[in-house]
Assembly symmetry: C2
Amino acid sequence: MTTPARTEATQKLGKAQYAYEWIKVQILEQAFTPGYRLVLANIAQTLGMSVVPVREAIRRLEAEGLVTFERNVGARVSMVDGEQYRYSMEALGILEGAATAQSAAHLTAKELAEARELNAKLEESLENFDPETFTAVNHQFHQILACRCPNQRLNDMIAVEWERLNHLRTSTFSFVPNRARASVNEHYQILHLIETHAPADAVEKAVREHRTATLRSYLNSRGTN
Amino acid sequence: MTTPARTEATQKLGKAQYAYEWIKVQILEQAFTPGYRLVLANIAQTLGMSVVPVREAIRRLEAEGLVTFERNVGARVSMVDGEQYRYSMEALGILEGAATAQSAAHLTAKELAEARELNAKLEESLENFDPETFTAVNHQFHQILACRCPNQRLNDMIAVEWERLNHLRTSTFSFVPNRARASVNEHYQILHLIETHAPADAVEKAVREHRTATLRSYLNSRGTN
DNA sequence: CCGCCGCAGATAATATACGATTTCGAATAA
DNA sequence: TTATTCGAAATCGTATATTATCTGCGGCGG
């Protein structure tokens, strides 16, 4: 089934890389649920390779926090408690706030227009609401706003944190629909701040609070369930 | 020479772990300078193990940014340009500011006393100045202030960034002595803010600016050289 | 009846062997 | 002289084999 595509990708990027991506997809798509035990030999056989590249892939996933590893025992998909989701959201708010503030001054008119367009798409999608696409477009929106941040290190950290959140989110809850409307409005506010060249502090604060609000709404929704 | 200690550590933590730590020490102590090529077979022979654990160690170092890796070519110690140092400092300022602000409310009197003591030690050491110890104690100081941050994720990121900075710093410059005095004073200010229960914003801002100032002084000193 | 000991199965950790890719220099032809 | 091709050395990538470690279970002794 995936064999033809695999052999191709395998040759170019190496089996380790392929295994890495494959496992990550399994985790993100819930084929491997939290707590699932990743047995080297099994995966190696499934992918038609030896255990060595698989091992390497798993260690990389460990470094990203998607799996936990115990010596002489093995790896399993990270268990996710609500705390971890909270921590990552908070961290992302902090990083993204700072990055967006730095990026704001360098954004071109075209990029701002793109961002507006994306937010409009979000607004439309409020009708027949689909959490997955909403999340994806939302990600794009924030990515554009932060993309001109000259600090590459920050951007890297943000990327890692988004991946982590994708994992944690799908594992813990299916979204908070009520929040979507407010989120879109806050996006417009952020755009306004940037377009009117508001001080960097203000942009940073707005972005961070935007995320904090999402987090709060999540915590509330969990509390009342 | 290191054999007896090694065999012991090797047994407990595994050769991969040992290799990882050994290589890291070499890099941090400048035995492996930036650009140095890390050849699997060489290191494996030096450490008396096969290439497999060495390979794993190197991939872990890659994930931390201490070495760069190119497929079918190999690994080398990361080249460091001034930009990277700047980015990491900035990132650390952002993260540490937020973490310290969150931590402030939970710090015990004992911990604050410890912090004061460490800063006093820094003040003393201004006489016969030694950059290495200053840096180390400085790290401890900030670590204590942030240690009560409930967000474990933030703490992890900060730890990684400190390591990275240690690498970058020793590679690029030997410190800016003039800055040390101001740094100590700012530490006292930060302590004062925490002890008087200043708002979190204020603490965060102070810590971030503390680091920004260090960065500025570094950039200036480079500019006038 | 409960807890410790040891054995067997499973699985990770490492070693060794082989194949694949890149790099660099030397020989050759324009 | 210079560009190009060919080949050998170096080094990485992966597979296979071996060893070490953990886990769970069943028996033995208290």
